[in-house]
């Protein structure tokens, strides 16, 4: 039993260190909702990127598929993807371009990924790019994906509950006003 536990521990330890890696980058991150004409359309320096793993199915993400209160997928995309922690890789955004490197064991790294692009300059909107990682093993060299540019702020996010409440309040006020006018 002791031997079995020791073997299990060895297998676990080995599993932790083995890692396959891919790099993802974009030459320029644009912002269609908040274009800065004087700056060739670059987003603000506060753009952030979120990596989502979708497994074996190509993701289809659009309006209403990102919840800004929970920073997670919403609507029809809810439950199809898993947010990936940056602790397993590195991430950098500078000069309007982004680069990140992500590592995981070969048993789980292959599949479809999405990158959610958020920009504080266009609150309520997000960009999305997807790509597929396949055939990557722990002894493979890193695979690299590079985009010419991304379109941040392409889709609308799910509004915050407070915004929803204010909206509901506004609708109610309009309704009441009409009622009293009669």
């Amino acid at each position: 039993m002791k031997k079995m536990m020791l073997m299990g521990l060895v297998a676990l330890t080995v599993g932790l260190v083995q890692a396959a890696t891919f790099n993802w980058g974009t030459d320029a991150s644009m912002n269609s909702q908040n274009p800065d004409l004087g700056d060739v359309g670059y987003t603000s320096p506060t753009v952030t990127f979120q990596l989502v793993f979708f497994g074996g199915t190509a993701p289809s993400v659009g309006n209403g598929n990102w919840d800004i209160t929970t920073s997670n997928l919403a609507g029809s995309a809810s439950g199809t993807g898993t947010l990936v922690s940056w602790s397993s890789g590195s991430y950098n955004y500078a000069l309007g371009s982004a680069f990140f490197s992500y590592s995981a064991d070969e048993a789980v790294i292959n599949g479809w990924y999405g990158v959610v692009i958020l920009d504080s300059a266009s609150t309520g909107y997000f960009g999305f790019e997807s790509f597929q990682v396949s055939g990557l093993t722990n002894t493979s060299p890193p695979a690299s994906f590079q985009l010419g540019s991304t379109e941040a702020g392409e889709f609308t996010t799910v509004p915050e509950p407070t915004s929803m409440a204010l909206l509901a309040l506004g609708v109610a006020a309009v309704g009441l006003r009409r009622k009293f006018r009669k």
Binding site: V17, S97, F99, Q146
Partner: protein, 269 residues
């Protein structure tokens, strides 16, 4: 006066002898012909003068013929070094990473992914890395030249961690890893590739794997002395294969703890 001149001459001669004794730094270079995109390279040079870790920009100068510079990791050649949490990738940048692809002189050279200036990172002698050429092919070979100071230490020690390790011989010589004199005889032995430590060498786009056999591969697990050591998968005797000078390999350690590979210098200075 004659005495003074003789003393001076003696001093000069002594100085020359002393200089000769101190001058043991051997600077060399090694050329490798790359015919595939992905290449595992072993570093057997240190920085000239100190023998310390050699900066990437000195190890592979950006203007070498056959190298490809680009604006990102997909178009420029790559160097990828395996760290504790995955690879750190550098690409040979043409400097065109400014807004709208504008040229940035500070980024003209080897740039770490996500950064915007030429790197100052270095690789230790005995280190291993991937060199990814964007154009090397059998019909279009690329000659990669590495230069630096030849390792002079009596031994080079590399810590082998549980799991995968990218290893290389720090000395400019091929390594017959089945020879106990190379120091690769302290890992975990087993009767097959699953239980024993492995060494995998990349060649022709695929890996050749060896396992550290305990010799128990005879009928019913009987001990076979000829198989007690590093055996190529599918063979039944200790291998005489070598890892060529300047190449790297994977070492897969099955043990739960680190151990040191202490490799003695295979040549005299």
């Amino acid at each position: 006066m004659k005495k003074l001149m003789t003393a001076c001459a003696a001093c000069v001669l002594a100085g020359m002898v002393s200089a000769q004794v101190e001058s043991v730094n051997i600077v060399g270079y090694m050329s490798q012909t790359l015919t595939t995109k992905n290449n595992m390279i072993g570093l057997n040079f240190g920085a000239v003068g100190t023998g310390a870790a050699i900066p990437i920009v000195d190890l592979i100068p950006k203007n070498q013929e056959g190298l490809n510079a680009g604006a990102n990791v997909v178009t420029g050649d790559n160097i990828s070094v395996l760290g504790d949490s995955g690879y750190v990738t550098y690409f040979l940048c043409n400097g065109n990473i400014g807004k709208g692809g504008a040229y940035v002189a500070a980024a003209d050279g080897w740039v770490k992914g996500g950064e915007s200036a030429v790197t100052t990172d270095a690789i230790q002698v005995g280190g291993a890395f991937w060199f990814i050429s964007q154009t090397a092919a059998p019909a279009a070979p690329v000659t990669l030249t590495l230069a630096g100071q030849v390792a002079a230490d009596a031994t080079i020690t590399k810590t082998i961690k549980p799991g995968l390790n990218m290893i290389a011989n720090g000395y400019a010589a091929e390594i017959a890893f089945a020879d106990p004199a190379t120091g690769l005889s302290v890992g975990t032995k087993g009767a097959n590739v699953i239980t024993a430590d492995n060494i995998s060498i990349l060649a022709g786009g695929g890996y050749t794997t060896y396992f550290f056999c305990n010799g128990n591969i005879g009928k019913g697990g009987a001990y076979v002395a000829a198989a007690d050591g590093w055996v190529k998968g599918g063979d039944s005797a200790v291998t005489t294969d070598t890892v060529p000078a300047g190449a790297a390999a994977w070492y897969i350690s099955r043990g739960a703890a680190n151990f040191d590979w202490v490799c003695p210098r295979p040549y005299s200075l």
